[in-house]
Symmetry: C2
Subunit: 111 residues, 2 copies
């Protein structure tokens, strides 16, 4: 099946997972996967959270983001992916002066 | 963790899953996910195959591709995703005159 994100409802989450400002996304969800096209404006973030029964792949399409991952901090650039394996924790922070856009896939592994 | 695809070995598979020509990719693999940056040149394809214990998300970064999905055929354009849920079958075909590039995530769900 084709997922055209333009056909999906715009979802605006305030302080998502305890982050700053708004996480704006269009999302497809079924029993095994969440598939999202997400945006964070400058100063916005997704708060630090753990993936206990799922994982997350974030492919950065535009911009530059900071990632807190377990005990460290990483820089994520367009064309790179950030991977949070099951059992790990992360957050995504836009400290830059332009919006970031990313594809995120959150698969469930323990059924 | 950051996945910089440029740091990963270039993998060239001939007639992948019974497809035409070469499937060129750089891939990160662990026990729960395959995360790939893939390319198909004009005339190249990934053959029709089923996903029985996993699924696949293909986000098209560049170009236009034909997708066989279960009984039908779909067109996939840059900025759209193709999703093959667990229990379904698909293939990816480049019938255009320029290369296609895509991010593919193959998560395992039945552990």
């Amino acid at each position: 099946m084709i997922i055209d994100f333009n056909d999906l409802e715009l979802n605006v989450a305030q302080n998502f997972k305890g982050g700053e400002k708004e996480y704006v996304s269009r999302r497809f969800v079924d029993e095994n996967n969440k598939i999202m096209l997400g945006t964070l404006e400058p100063g916005a973030s997704i708060g630090y959270h753990s993936h206990d029964a799922d994982s997350e792949v974030i492919y950065l399409l535009e911009g530059e983001a900071a990632v807190l991952y377990d005990e460290g901090e990483e820089m994520l650039r367009a064309g790179q992916a950030h991977y949070c394996p099951m059992g790990h924790s992360h957050s995504l922070i836009n400290r830059s002066d332009r919006a970031i856009t990313f594809l995120a896939v959150v698969p469930t592994h323990n059924k």
